[in-house]
């Protein structure tokens, strides 16, 4: 198995990753746009307003779409099939790419409620944001 890629925080995104390590979901909000924004940026999308601020959200949402990949999407996941690739729509609006865990692939349905799973990787010190059905 080739090594799985680990995200590397940037000067722009670091608050998001630092919060995940503390099991909190922190994303940006633009008061002038009146919308939450993801992924982290320096200016708000559409308006390019310079007023993005960090706000904590619950991290809960609904499943926008998914797939059960029987063939690995790339060599690092050769021993990880089926991969449960997913897009979650947060209750606050933006969507996020993730993977589903703690679920039978046959039970996955678009629209189902999901909650965060904070997946700590001791080797890298990074925390990935995965999802499971809401309990």
């Amino acid at each position: 198995m080739s090594t799985r890629p680990i995200p590397e925080p940037t000067p722009v995104s670091r608050p998001f990753w630092d919060a995940l390590a503390e099991e909190r979901v922190l994303i940006q909000y633009s008061p002038s746009l009146g919308e939450y924004v993801f992924y982290p940026r320096t200016l708000a999308p559409r308006t390019l307003a310079d007023d993005l601020e960090w706000r904590e959200i619950s991290g809960r949402g609904s499943l926008y779409t998914f797939t059960v990949a029987d063939r690995p999407t790339a060599p690092p996941w050769a021993d990880a099939v089926p991969q449960l690739l997913a897009v979650v729509e947060w209750d606050e609006g933006p969507r996020v790419s993730t993977e589903l865990v703690e679920v039978d692939p046959a039970d996955i349905q678009v629209g189902m409620r999901v909650e965060p799973v904070f997946d700590h990787d001791p080797d890298s010190g990074m925390t990935l944001l995965r999802y499971r059905p809401e309990k």
Partner: protein, 398 residues
Amino acid sequence: MGLRGEAAIVGIAELPAEKKPSRSAFTIDQYARLAKLVLDDAGLDASVVNGLVTHGIGESAMFAPATLSEYLGIPLDFGERVDLGGATAAGMVWRAAAAVELGICDAVLAVVPGSLGVPRSERRPATDPGWFGASSNNYGSPQAEFEIPYGNVGQNGPYAQIAQRYAAEFGYDAKATASIAVAQRTNACAHPGAIFHGKPITVQDVLDSPMIADPIRMLDVVMRVQGGAAVLIANADLARRSKHRPVWLKGFGEHVAFKTPTYAEDLVRTPIARAADRAFAMAGLERADVDMASIYDCYTITVLMSLEDAGFCAKGTGMSWVREHDLTFRGDFPVNTAGGQLSFGQAGMAGGMHHVVDAARQLMGRADQAQVADCNTAFVTGNGGIMSEQVALLFQGE
């Protein structure tokens, strides 16, 4: 607003699809070979060319138009690089036509090499793992940080997520999507250059093929091949001197909406809708005027959603529509008459040019066994990324 329809494709070239490359050539050499083929096809000299479009060359990360100009010995009044993934070829064609109509150029090469058979350095082995595909793993890339770590990489997974969303909103009929692959295979069997020439399939074959990423099965997916394709776009004077019936670009539209489908405003209503509306308005044509369509077909779901969003059937009705129509070259709505990328094969970036060449070949009346009778108007789509950047073209014969 738009083109007057006074620039035409006057030459086409497409190498036969090969599983393994039969020769080894740098992309710059492949470009030159295809340029010669397309000029010979038009019956025009290299001296008429004063514009060039490329998606880039493997030997040089920058300065691709200048490097090609120097190599070919063709000075340029328009040197352009197009970076629209699978929509690159269609994007090249309208840019070339615009340069011609503005009077900047007499003739523009739009060439897309498509063979991985490239000489390898003995001193400098390739370091890129190659599996990031359309995603960038560079530091600071949104894909590197928020997509790749979750395995959301490549094409199969993302397209399957589009198909699942479509299924949740409108339903999914695997026999209907399979029928697209079957019709295109029928077309490939009438086109000797296709990789699957002589190998017909049935709907059951598609349904029995291995699941890749639910609901996409192996025969719903393009076949990677080695090849390359090119067209020459020229003004009316050169079109009159060329060997074949000119293929005039009457309208186009381009729309780029996002990179990663996670961030699409609406994943199942794709950018081709706006691009197609603009193309038809520019051309003053109706959907019913179209005699054949060459629709970018990385997956069967891409064809189905493109037909819907481009306005050939109502949104959400594509599954029943494709079962009610015959998409073969002899059918009532011919699509991808040379087999498309599903059955001709996808020669890398040249896959997008396959659709341009397919349409031009039909309008020139040169499709032999697969010729659509009385074919005068063709619609072409290009699709880059994950249905995130799309181009529509409308061509007419004289």
